[in-house]
């Protein structure tokens, strides 16, 4: 069974140009696979602006958790510590701060995994024989065979034209 086509480019600029062309031609089911972050990929594949907002929301949640924990426990077991006021808020700053950071850190890490669909047991592109190259020094595009515009010979010719080495990726 054919999973799709893997195209290898030797420079990120070629990858970006190829992605633009493929997008313009109406390809939808494709992935760019790169060894490191590529500048300008957002313009082609769309960026994800959610992360700062999610981090902010998690931060607000963390502040709430921290203050709730301390105010609740203090009121539940009132104790005069060295004549300090019962709800002496300056003393609550360190714990609130740490819990805020802890909430953001753990939350954003889990959210990153969720957004990226990880952990992932298997991915068709990994079946490519030369797959390791896109983790090393080459920039790959994986075009799924299920793409409505996909046509084995036509797509292969197009990718060649864009300057890629092309590999067919099949099961097994």
């Amino acid at each position: 069974m054919l999973y799709g086509l893997m195209a290898y480019f030797d420079a990120p600029e070629k990858l970006l140009a190829a992605l633009r062309t493929l997008k313009a031609q109406g390809y939808r089911r494709l992935e760019a696979l790169t060894p490191n972050p590529v500048e300008g990929i957002e313009e082609v594949l769309g960026g994800d602006g959610r992360i700062p907002w999610i981090a902010f929301a998690l931060g607000v949640l963390g502040v709430g958790l921290g203050l709730f924990l301390q105010i609740y426990t203090t009121l539940d077991y009132p104790h005069n510590a060295g004549g300090k006021p019962l709800l002496g808020w300056p003393a609550f700053i360190p714990v609130t701060f740490e819990l805020t950071i802890l909430t953001i850190t753990v939350g954003i890490f889990l959210f990153l995994l969720y957004m990226n669909g990880l952990p992932l047991a298997a991915h068709p592109a990994v079946q490519a024989k030369e797959y390791v190259r896109v983790l090393l020094d080459e920039y790959g595009i994986f075009v799924y065979a299920s793409d409505p515009k996909f046509d084995l010979e036509g797509t292969k010719a197009l990718l060649w034209e864009l300057g890629a080495e092309v590999e067919e990726v099949r099961r097994g």
Partner: protein, 450 residues
């Protein structure tokens, strides 16, 4: 575009490389047989770790009477070493986090090994509060959980801030280290077979290098760096407040948070140098950990060390200027009492010998840098000893004055954590690449191809 200026950081990667040869080089510690010094370090580390476990066993079975602590020095080697190890941990997060935010390219060669250093240093540090509690099986009492006694931790106390600060710090530095590892684990997965392939496969979580994933990954990485930076500063500040909240002469100072933070950076960078200089030599990494890297680390060591030295002098001034008799007596006890050799050795290393790092001749002398980095760690150990033991041994009442005598259990616990630290680190660099491969390749690409 007739003439292209070389990138200002061009010589951060020295020698002739392609991406492929660079990756081969960086993965050598994991993929090639280990060099002989590695075996020696692992063997010594494992032996000391076993001794450490035995000392913990003795502590648990016989109790804290096996330690040298008593009144008035109720905080002995355990707290000295807790603070010392936590301080050492800080440089790793600083190198990774602050230098990411400042877009310093030279961090890329150093961050992985220093983050691993942080990880094992925090683990070593965290064992001390656990085992010195007297009833370690009840450690969970410091956590807020609903008990049948209807008691809660006291959140106006720095000791309970400490618990949360340390736990947050362990969590954030572990996640940061792991996040940085994920792309390298994917690369290792594709390059290995059998059990290793499975292990790396599980750990890499199925990372494929999808460009959209990379964008989110970078965003989260920089965000975590931004969050780790204040945590580092807060952790050692909170540790210092454990002391500064007390009325003991020599502790009750508002300058303690910056004092401890500066000391942490200083000892952390010193420990990073102690580890990186042999690593670079044994694995022949001179091309990626260049003399320029070492020079910059020495400069950071100098800057933070000067902060420490300044506060030593400030402490004397405050004790004199405040006119508080117990404070001034404490200061004189440090300088002239039975512990004076420790105090003056600390001054010699952290104030006098530190000044050599002003001079390029000393900074570029790798042998001196290595010797100094070890001395700086000794100096910082002495500083913790001065703060904890010397302050406690001389408080307000002459009837209380007692000296502190550590026992063999104290010493074994100390040497044991050093062994555990070395053992953990050497296993780490055998399983995970000690230099962040994906980041180095990215840096190489930016320096050589743009």
């Amino acid at each position: 575009m007739a003439h292209k200026e070389p990138h200002p950081d061009h010589d951060l990667i020295q020698g002739e490389w392609t991406e492929k040869t660079l990756v081969e080089k960086l993965l050598e510690p994991v993929e090639k047989p280990a060099p002989r010094p590695w075996r020696v370090v692992v063997a010594v580390g494992a032996a000391l770790t076993l001794a450490w476990l035995y000392a913990i066993f003795v502590t648990f079975v016989k109790g804290l009477g096996t330690w040298g602590i008593n009144q008035p020095v109720a905080w002995g080697f355990d707290i000295v070493h807790f603070v010392w190890w936590i301080g050492i941990g800080h440089a790793g997060t600083l190198i990774s986090a602050i230098l990411v935010l400042m877009r310093q390219n030279w961090r890329d060669s150093l961050n992985r090994v220093t983050e691993a250093m942080t990880f094992f240093a925090i683990l070593a540090a965290a064992t001390y509060p656990l085992i010195h509690m007297g009833r370690p099986q009840l450690f969970y009492w410091v956590m807020p959980y609903p008990t049948h006694m209807a008691l809660w931790p006291q959140y106006k106390s720095p000791l309970s801030w400490d618990v949360l600060a340390i736990m947050t710090y362990i969590t954030i530095s572990t996640l940061f280290l792991y996040l940085g590892l994920i792309p390298d684990l994917a690369l290792l997965r594709e390059r290995s077979r059998g059990f290793r392939r499975k292990l790396y496969g599980w750990l890499s979580l199925g990372w494929t290098g999808n460009a959209v994933h990379w964008q989110r990954y970078r965003a989260v990485y920089v965000l975590l760096a931004g969050l780790a930076t204040p945590v580092v500063i807060s952790v050692h500040s909170v540790v210092s407040m454990d002391f500064a909240y007390g009325l003991v002469p020599g502790w009750h100072l508002t300058v303690f948070p910056p004092f401890f933070a500066a000391g942490a950076i200083y000892s952390g960078f010193a420990m990073a140098l102690t580890l990186i200089i042999p690593l670079r030599k044994w694995y022949r990494l001179e091309g990626v950990i260049t003399e320029r890297h070492l020079d910059w680390m020495a400069k950071v060591t100098l800057a933070s060390g000067l902060g420490v030295a300044y506060i030593y002098l400030l402490e004397i001034f405050i004790a004199w200027y405040a006119g508080e008799p117990a404070e001034w007596a404490q200061q004189l006890w440090r300088m002239t009492g039975p512990y004076a050799p420790y105090y003056w050795a600390m001054m010699l290393i952290n104030v006098v010998l530190l000044q050599t790092l002003w001079f390029p001749r000393f900074r570029r002398n790798i042998a001196w840098l290595f010797v100094f980095s070890i001395l700086a760690n000794v100096g910082m150990w002495l500083e913790r000893f001065v703060i904890v033991v010397i302050s406690l041994s001389h408080d307000f009442l002459p009837g209380n004055f007692q000296l502190y005598y550590p026992t063999w259990v104290d010493w074994t616990l100390f040497l044991g954590t050093i062994g555990f630290f070395l053992f953990g680190l050497s296993l780490f660099i055998r399983i995970f690449p000690p230099i962040a491969v994906a980041e180095m390749v990215h840096l190489f690409h930016r320096l050589r191809k743009h």
